[in-house]
């Protein structure tokens, strides 16, 4: 069965610090992987996606993620966090089927 694990429920980082949000997945075939961001009271916005090819993918807002097949991971990174990055972040997996989402990680940013 497909599943996504985001081990960190809540992370707090200082503005300007680096960020890594973890995502591990279980999927029977080659997965398509996604990171979405949700601001309060809003829907989900796509940050980046991985289908194939280069395992390091760039997204919007300065985010990147690296697909590691051997570790079944797709961690999200940003070198320098801005206060506006405070939001909920969701990792998702699928391949033409309805996406399965992780439980999300809440990011707080402090001055």
């Amino acid at each position: 069965a497909q599943s996504v694990t985001q081990p960190d429920i809540h992370i707090t980082v200082s503005e300007g610090a680096s960020l890594e949000l973890r995502c591990n997945y279980s999927y029977g075939a080659t997965p398509y992987l996604f990171w979405y961001v949700q601001s309060p009271g809003q829907g989900l916005q796509l940050l980046l996606k991985y289908f194939s090819g280069d395992t390091l993918v760039q997204g919007i807002k300065g985010f990147e993620a690296e697909f590691k097949r051997s570790q079944s991971s797709f961690n999200l990174r940003k070198p320098s966090v801005h206060w506006s990055d405070a939001a909920e972040y969701f990792c998702a997996v699928g391949h033409g089927t309805p996406l399965v989402f992780g439980k999300g990680t809440r990011l707080s940013v402090i001055a």
């Binding site: 398509y32 979405y36 829907g43 796509l46 699928g94 033409g96 309805p98 989402f101 999300g104």
Partner: protein, 114 residues
């Protein structure tokens, strides 16, 4: 910019009322979905559709129903709302031709049942 719209954005109603949450998209996507989002953030798939006159139940059992009479429209109905239905409901669509599963989301409908 995704073009998928949900109405109402916020709704407070009493127990026993019938409600319909509207979802429309202008991208011509065949696939549409409804997710229910708990206060603790987790998303659960409750309904999806791969085209007109096609609807399926998702992973989470729901007392709601859906219909897909037109490609662009995927409304969700609760015949008799209860406090346990209080949640945020997110509508999404994806392109069947690309078949990647990438979802485009609406801004959500937050339902409170008193």
């Amino acid at each position: 910019e995704a073009d998928i719209y949900q109405t109402p954005r916020y709704l407070v109603i009493g127990t026993g009322k019938k409600i319909t949450l509207e979802c429309s998209q202008t991208m011509g996507h065949d696939k549409m979905y409804w997710y229910q989002q708990d206060p603790g953030m987790e998303l659960h798939l409750i309904h999806y559709s791969y085209g007109v006159n096609s609807t399926e139940k998702g992973d989470l059992s729901s007392e709601s129903t859906v219909s897909r009479i037109r490609t662009e429209h995927f409304p969700l109905t609760l015949e008799s709302a209860r406090p346990s239905h209080t949640s945020q409901y997110l509508c999404a669509s994806s392109d069947r031709g690309l078949n990647t599963g990438e979802l485009f989301f609406g801004e959500g409908s937050r339902l409170t049942v008193l």
